[in-house]
Point group: none
Chain length 156, copies 2
DNA sequence: CTCAGAATCAGCCTAAAGTATGAGGGAAAA
DNA sequence: TTTTCCCTCATACTTTAGGCTGATTCTGAG
């Protein structure tokens, strides 16, 4: 019942307004009936009144148009930009697991000798790996490889 | 003149509508005048008609209600270029302008020879600078210097 | 099973990087 | 003015990096 009331509020309002105005008209009629020539004025009055009512109804009850504007807000990643490996670029290079490992240690500033010691293999092995890394990454120096790998998000 | 027309378009339209409707009323009057009791029906008709006109006017000529809703969409940017030199750490190292310049080029993967060419100086000069850089940064390899400098925010 | 790729190692050679020492010129501070 | 950096260049030497060739072992895909 409540729902029905709110749902048809505008209709009820309009009906009541109409009824009241008709009543007023009836009363006015008694006053202006004597003046026959005032009929057009009377009709015009009604017209203006109800025009105003219509405008009021339209403005009051029309649902406002919602305009959604999507604003792109640039968000920079916080200080330590959580590093996630760019798998696509990593695959493109064709680096093997061991080669990537060597590349990472290179980036930390270790010499081939130190890398060899850390991975418990010979210097020759690391030289082979590092050569492969340079070849696969299409560079000529380890510093270039490091720079490129960082730019491609292959290493942190 | 043209401007005046467009500016008062709504007023003119309303006036014309009113005039036409009053004329119609006048005509209707001749038909319904015989029926005295039909006066309320007649008034109600006018009321409904002009209500409709009012609604139409309001909807057609009023600036539509627009509720602008701003939705912020977060766009994440990889590797923000917002780099600011850590002046404190830079001073601690005691690096001179030229030495810092060489360090930056080192980090881009350039060889001493290439750096020399780029700065229009001899290889010897760059070797001297690079040695000074390694000494002042307390490292033994350029890769270490690069890694350390990046971690200290001395270079991007 | 065979073949390809990955990982391991070695030797040899060149290129680049790094160390040490010295030295001249310029600019700014003491 | 003298001192102190900074930038420049050179020569000689050692170490590290990188290129090239070739070899062995192992594993997974075809």
């Amino acid at each position: 019942m409540r729902k029905w009331l709110t749902k048809h509020k505008s209709t009820i309002l309009y009906t009541i307004s109409l009824a009241i105005l008709l009543f007023v008209l009836r009363w006015l009629e008694l006053r202006f009936l004597v003046i026959n020539n005032a009929f057009e004025i009377y009709a015009g009055g009604i017209a203006i009144l109800f025009t105003a009512l219509g405008i009021w109804l339209a403005l009051k009850l029309s649902t406002p148009k919602v305009n959604t504007v999507v604003v792109e807000k640039e968000v920079f990643l916080p200080r330590p930009p959580e590093f996630t490996v760019n798998e696509k670029e990593l695959e493109k290079t064709g680096l093997s697991g061991r080669e990537l490992e060597v590349l990472q240690l290179m980036a930390e500033g270790l010499s081939n000798q130190e890398i060899a010691a850390k991975l418990y293999v010979s210097l020759s092995t690391i030289k082979t790996h590092s050569s492969k890394v340079l070849e696969k990454m299409d560079v000529r120096r380890r510093t270039q490889a490091i720079d490129k790998a960082k730019k491609l998000n292959i290493i942190p």
